[in-house]
Symmetry: C2
Subunit: 454 residues, 2 copies
Amino acid sequence: MKNLIIIGGSDAGISAALRSREIDPEIEPTLIIADRYPNFSICGLPFYLSGEVTDWRNLAHRTKEEIEQAGIRLVMDHRAETIDPKKKLVQVVDTDGKTRELHYDKLVIGTGAESIKPNIKGMDLPGVFLLRWMDDSFAVHAWLTEHHPQSALVVGGGYIGMEMADALILRGLSVTVVEFASTVLTTVDEILGEKVAAELERHGVNVATGVGIESIEASGKSLTVKGSKGFSTNADMVLVAVGCRPSATLAAGAGIETGLKGAIKVNRRMETNVPDIYAAGDCVETWHNLLKKYTYLPLGTTAHKQGRIAGENAAGGNREFAGSLGTQAVKIFDLVAARTGLRDSEARDEGFDPFTDYFETWDHKVYYPGAEKIIIRITGDRNTHRLLGAQILGHYKSEISKRVDIVAAALFSNLTVEQLSDLDLSYTPPLSSPWDPIQMAAQAWTKNCGVSVR
Amino acid sequence: MKNLIIIGGSDAGISAALRSREIDPEIEPTLIIADRYPNFSICGLPFYLSGEVTDWRNLAHRTKEEIEQAGIRLVMDHRAETIDPKKKLVQVVDTDGKTRELHYDKLVIGTGAESIKPNIKGMDLPGVFLLRWMDDSFAVHAWLTEHHPQSALVVGGGYIGMEMADALILRGLSVTVVEFASTVLTTVDEILGEKVAAELERHGVNVATGVGIESIEASGKSLTVKGSKGFSTNADMVLVAVGCRPSATLAAGAGIETGLKGAIKVNRRMETNVPDIYAAGDCVETWHNLLKKYTYLPLGTTAHKQGRIAGENAAGGNREFAGSLGTQAVKIFDLVAARTGLRDSEARDEGFDPFTDYFETWDHKVYYPGAEKIIIRITGDRNTHRLLGAQILGHYKSEISKRVDIVAAALFSNLTVEQLSDLDLSYTPPLSSPWDPIQMAAQAWTKNCGVSVR
C-alpha cells in the first residue's frame, strides 16, 4: 500500500488528497499542515474581514471532521523542514520545536506562495499587516476589533488590495489605496484600471497612483506613512499587499529544480525532476494553454486543477494538466473585472501581431429594466484572426465573469475572433441580446482590425 | 448595382440588410414589411404586456429613422404575395389591396413563423389571443387596459406561456396555465419542468398539466374554458401559445423547396434551391452544429446569424452558417432555465449512448451572502465521453444563461465531458467556486457514468 504524503493543506494539497482516494480508495494520504486551518478559502479572507462572513469557520471548504471522514490523516501545526529524497523521508517540526520523520512512497508538495514583504521601513510595526493565510487574517481582525481603527492605508492596487479597500469601507473605515503603477488593477488594461479607480473613489476611497511607499512610522496611536512624490498621510492601520512569490525553499533544499521566480519546475503530470515527488499550486510553474510554455501564474482555480492531477498520478493514474489561460475575476464594490488569455502587450511579447479593440454596450436589452453598461476588450492576432484574450468590466450583476469564461472556452479550442461570433449563445431579453455582448465585440474587432481574413 | 430585396423586417431580414451594406456599401436594400414595425424585439412582447417596458416603441432594436439612415429602404404595410423567380419579380400588396411589382437581382426571404392556431372551439371569440407579432401584442394590451380582466388562462407551458404567466401575475391578474404534457417547459427535462411549475405556483399561478383544452365559450363578460379530464374554469381572457410553424407558403408558391415542418430548405450559405434567392430565420430549416444535419429550431439568435450570412452572401460574400446547438434561456419569475445541445432522449434518437446526470450545488461560495442553489444536468456519450448537452436551472442572478453558454462553447469544439472540467474558468467567491458548478457537474458525470475513458 502506497504511503502518500502531502505537504500543504490548501487548495492543491487537499485536491491531491481527495483525488488520490478517488483513484485508489486504499490510499490514506497524510496531510502536513503548518497551521490548524486545512482547506480554508484564502480567497475569502477579505469577506471575513469585511464582516460579510460572520464566522471565520465558514471559510472552510470542508471541516477537519469532513476531511478526516474522507480518509485523510491530518498532521496539523507541523511544518515540513526537510525532504530526503534518497531515504524518502520528510522531517517535520511541531510548534514546540520537536521534530520527527515521516516516510513516503509518493510525495506531493503544495506549499503555496507567500506575501512579498517589500523593503519599507517600519514593516514590522504594530498595525502593519500582510494578508495571505488564516493567521494573517486573525491578526487583522484582532486589530480591527480591539483597536477600532478609523482609517486604513492599503499598499498595492492588486486583487487583495482592491478587495480589502472594499471590505474596510464596508466596515466603516476611511481608506486610502496607494499603487506604484499609474493606475490600480494592473492585471487589466489601464483604461479599465482607471474605471476601477473611479469606482473606488465613488465609494469614498482615496486613490494615490504612481507612488512608492518608503516608510511607516509610529505616531502616537496612529502610523505615518510616507512615499515618493512627497506622499504623506496618517492611518490607524496599514495593509501591505504587493504580490506573492512561490514558497519553494523546502523543495529547492531537497534538490528539486526551480525556475521562474523560484517556482518548482514540473511537467504536465505535475512531476518534479525528483522521482516520486509531485508539486502543485502556487509553488509551481504553470503550463500556459495558449503560449504552450511555462509561466508563473498563481491562482486558486489552477491550484485545484494541478492538485487533482498530482493526486491522480501519485495514486497510479495518468493525467496531464490541460493548462492555464490566466482566467480571473474580481469584484470591487459594484464592479467586476475579469480577464482571460493575453493582453495586447503580452501577445506582442510572445511574437503575435495583436490588435485590441474597445467595445461598450449594454449587458441586456435596454428596454428591460436594470440594463448596465459593459466594456469588452478583445485581443486577437491581425494576421490569423486567432482569438488571444479578452478583458471585461461591468456591474457585478452583468454576468461578467461567466462571459469571460465563454471566451476562455473559445481560447481552449484555439478559435478565431470570428468563431466567437459564430457560437450559439443563449438569449432572453432580461439577460442578454440576440448577439451576446462578447459577440458584438468580436464583430467590432473584425470591422476595426483592418485586415480581412477567410 | 445589385437590387437587393428582403422580405420580412424582423431579426433575419434586418440582419441581412445591415450586413449587405457592410459588405458592399453601394447596395441599398429594400425591406418589405407586412406591418409598420420593422426590427422590433418580438422576444420582448411579454415585458411590454407586463408593464416592465412602459412604451412599446422601446421594443424597437432600431427606429425606422435609424434603419433608413443606415441606407435601408423600408416598404411598410406591404405584404409580399408572389415571387416570380423567372422574371425576378416580387408582387406586393398594400393595406388597400393595391398591388405592384418589385424587381430584384438578389432576394432574401425572412418571413418568419406564425403562431399555431389549435383546433379549439371558440378560438375566434373576443378575449382569446395569440401572441407573436406587434399587432397581437397591441390587441392583448388593448384588452388589458380597456376590459381590466381579473383573470387569464394561458394555454401552453412553453416560453411564451411561461413569460406571459409571469407578466400577467406582475400585472395583478389571477393566472392559470394549462399544459397538455405532464409538466410545463417541455424543452427541458421533466424534473426541471416540475421545479418551474413549483415556481409558478409559488407566485400564485394555477398550473394544470396533462390537460388538453377543447372549447372556449362566452359566458357573460367572461369566458368558460373546458378541457380533458373534466377541466373547466372561467377566465376574463385566454392566451393561446402552443408553438409556431414556419411561414413558408410564399416561398413554396415560387417553387422553393421546403422540408421539415414545411420550412424552407437552404444550404449553409443560406441559399434556397432557386438561384439568387436566400432565406433565413424562423422560416427555414436550421443546420445543427452537433448533429450535422438540418432541423427545425426557430430562435431569434439563429435568425440574426442566418440573416447576417444571407446578407453577406447576397452582397457577394462567401460565408457559411456555423450551425445551431439549440442554446436557449428563459426567465420565469426568479428562475432561469437554460439549455444547449441534446437531451438524453434526443441523443438516444440520434444514435448516441447517452448518460445524463443530475447535479445540484451553490452558484457561489456559500460563505458569501446570497448563494443560491443551481441544478445542472450534463448529457454525454457513455462510450466516447463526448459532451452532448446541458440543462441548467437556477436563480436569475446565478449567471445561469452564461454558464450554459460556456457549455455551448465547449460543444462548438466537440469537447469531452472531462475537457469541460479542464477549462480554465474564472473564480471569485461572490460569483463562483474554484471549480465552477458546471465543472463540478462534469466531474460528477464522469464519476457516475460508470464507464472509464482515456
